[in-house]
């Protein structure tokens, strides 16, 4: 038990076991003793840091769960499926926001998937080892680093007027903001993540597979469609799920574009609210205890949905690696 910190570094290849090093550490000299003590201390500091992170995590769950208790006690399961959200009568049903969140994210995903597949294939296959590919990859990563609030700003300036013209054209109410605007900007925001993940998935295909396919005289299309994509399928699905979980939790851009209406969305042009956007616009003013608790309840639902998508994605990713 003295050598609890033995890591992979010591275990790899060399055939020496951690115990072999004990002689050195355990020497009965002055320095040896302080060294051993310092090592103990070092170990404790690391363990404390790890414990702090884990506690932080547990604290999040605990805080949300405790604070959400009053609303769950009042509404029961109806908190999940109720369609009324009315602070005046203190009825709190989160379904309009769950619908808004899932709807915008799925739409965003549907728009982003073909775009990301194309970009990912171009970067991961056609421009695999070229300078241009590296440059474009840097640009895509830059797109991923633009802050959410800047996307929201851009959406207000460009997407909302465009969607408003479209709405006037098809005879829908000319709000401009709404489910469609939020989804469009959301899709632009997740394309960089998704295409990076797809590119990585394609690049991680064993080179022999690709070479073999080309050696058999396949065209790039046949290689990608018949070999590369099927081989990378679960990584790609994982990437899609991880991007989905990002879209679910995205706050600022959605808050700025979705229209902030606490009703069930009924069409692409209707206004709505996502879980994150309701919290952003109502948390600071929820004055009654139940309203405040309902905010925490929404945060809990959001956390749960996001983690579920992310966790499923990571599970798939790891299964692929194993």
């Amino acid at each position: 038990m003295q050598r609890r910190l033995s890591g992979p570094v010591l275990d790899t290849g060399s055939g020496r076991r951690p115990e072999d090093f004990q002689i050195m550490d355990g020497r009965e000299t002055r320095t040896g003793k302080t060294d051993a003590m310092n090592d103990k201390r070092f170990e404790r500091v690391l363990a404390a840091a790890a414990a702090a992170v884990i506690l932080l995590c547990a604290g999040f769950l605990l805080t949300l769960a405790l604070d959400a208790t009053p609303v769950i006690r009042q509404e029961g399961a109806a908190f999940l499926y109720g369609t009324q959200w009315n602070p005046v009568t203190a009825r709190f049903g989160a379904l309009p926001f769950i619908a808004g969140t899932v709807l915008t994210s799925i739409l965003a995903l549907a728009i982003a998937l073909p775009l990301s597949l194309g970009t990912g294939i171009v970067l991961g296959e056609y421009l695999r080892d070229s300078r241009l590919g590296a440059l474009l990859n840097v640009m895509v990563n830059l797109l991923a680093s633009i802050p959410s609030v800047v996307y929201g700003l851009w959406g207000i300036a460009v997407v909302i007027p465009a969607v408003r013209s479209l709405a006037l054209l098809v005879g829908a109410p000319p709000y401009g903001s709404g489910i469609l605007s939020a989804s469009l900007v959301l899709s632009i925001m997740i394309v960089p993540y998704m295409s990076s993940l797809i590119r990585e998935a394609l690049r991680s295909i064993p080179p022999g597979l690709r070479e073999g396919a080309y050696a058999l005289g396949m065209t790039t299309f046949e290689m990608v469609g018949g070999v590369a994509l099927p081989h990378a399928r679960s990584s790609i699905i994982a990437g899609v799920l991880i991007s989905f979980s990002r879209a679910l939790g995205e706050t600022m851009a959605v808050t700025m574009l979705i229209g902030n209406a606490t009703r069930m969305p009924t069409s692409l042009f209707s206004l709505g609210n996502s879980l994150a956007s309701v919290i952003a616009s109502q948390f600071n003013e929820a004055a009654s205890d139940v309203h405040r608790s309902a905010m925490m309840g929404l945060a809990l639902i959001l956390l749960f949905i996001t983690l579920l998508a992310g966790w499923t994605g990571r599970k798939l990713m790891h299964r692929k690696v194993d």
Partner: protein
């Protein structure tokens, strides 16, 4: 590169430390709440900073937010244009007082081609926000506005998405004039709107109405004036068509004031009074020695309040808010004098 980065970091820390030492002397106060009076408040606080050096940070997050923050004791004062009802006093762990500051009007703004002057009644506004009137050329609107060519556009109702005293006053008025409104929607800082689009704060509603052709919204008069937006003329309880302006707002507040100043000026009987006039308050704890507050902070707060109901009033009218009438100032003086530090009045 590495060295310069290190120097930059050290410099940043040094700057922060100096900064902390430097501002330790300057008194700061934090308030949050109603966006209805935010234009005049930020103007007053800017002037107050120049006159006294005290920095007052006011965040216009909406009246409900202000009330919640004062409940949580995370601000020095909350701003609200709806007073705290007796039934809600239990949410505060200690007695609170209302200090009135200025009077304003909730006005109906719209965005139509050419922006013709419009006349509306409370009934019609209620029906628009109930979704019963959906087109601008609806007969109900046209009958009130003979000679004005109304477009066949959809009405886009814009409302406050955050909890708001402006909404409180607006829905209080609609409840007073429309039984159906009272029954279906009701009166509160945030209600469940049957139709329309939400926007945050007065500024957000004004911004949204400016953006959307065919939109209608309700904001404080100052926001409409600052943005050159058309404002509807409304028929008051006495049957007169009243344009919201300083004299019609003051007229609505001409009556007597209760000692705690908690009064709704809604749907006034005054012949020349604008029907959606409203008072706005700052809300503070009567006993100021709570949490980790210092006496200096408490003193700075009451000094500010005193300044606002006297010298500060000069900033109201240029921004289209009405000054407090004399009885209200008198009541406010008594209220401010009742604020204590460990039982001792802070002002004598």
């Amino acid at each position: 590169m590495k060295r310069s980065a290190r120097i930059a970091i050290v410099a940043m820390f040094a700057a922060m430390l100096f900064g902390i030492a430097g501002t330790a002397g300057a008194q700061t106060l934090l308030g949050a709440g109603a966006s209805f009076p935010a234009p005049v408040y930020t103007k007053m606080f800017d002037a107050y900073n120049k006159a006294t050096g005290v920095k007052v940070n006011y965040q216009a997050i909406g009246s409900s937010g202000g009330l919640k923050n004062i409940q949580d004791k995370v601000v020095d004062f909350g701003g609200s244009d709806s007073f705290v009802k007796d039934s809600d006093m239990g949410k505060y762990s200690a007695p609170i007082v209302h200090v009135p500051t200025v009077l304003g009007a909730v006005v109906i703004v719209y965005n139509l081609p050419g922006n013709p002057p419009l006349r509306l009644t409370g009934e019609v506004i209620a029906n628009i926000y109930l979704g019963k009137i959906t087109k601008w050329n609806d007969k109900a609107i046209a009958d009130l506005n003979p000679g004005i060519k109304l477009p066949a556009m959809d009405i886009v109702q814009v409302y406050r998405s955050d909890g708001s005293g402006t909404t409180f006053n607006f829905t209080a008025y609609l409840s007073a004039v429309s039984p159906e409104w009272k029954q279906v929607v009701g009166n509160a800082n945030s209600v469940q709107w049957p139709v329309g689009q939400g926007a945050a704060q007065n500024a957000g509603v004004a911004g949204m109405v400016r953006q959307i052709p065919g939109a209608i919204g309700y904001v404080e008069l100052a926001y409409a004036r600052q943005n050159n937006m058309p404002v509807a003329t409304i028929r008051n309880a006495a049957g007169n068509w009243i344009e919201p302006n300083l004299s019609s707002i003051s007229a609505a507040a001409a009556g007597a004031f209760p000692a705690d100043t908690r009064i709704l000026l809604m749907n006034t009987d005054a012949r020349e009074g604008y029907p959606i006039s409203a008072l706005t308050w700052l809300i503070v704890y009567r006993e100021q020695s709570y949490g980790n507050r210092t006496r200096e902070q408490a003193k700075a707060l009451v000094d500010l309040l005193w300044w606002m109901i006297h010298d500060g009033q000069a900033y109201a009218e240029p921004l289209d808010y009405a000054k407090l009438p004399a009885p209200a100032v008198k009541a406010a003086e008594a209220i401010i004098k009742s604020i204590t530090w460990k039982g001792e009045p802070l002002l004598k």
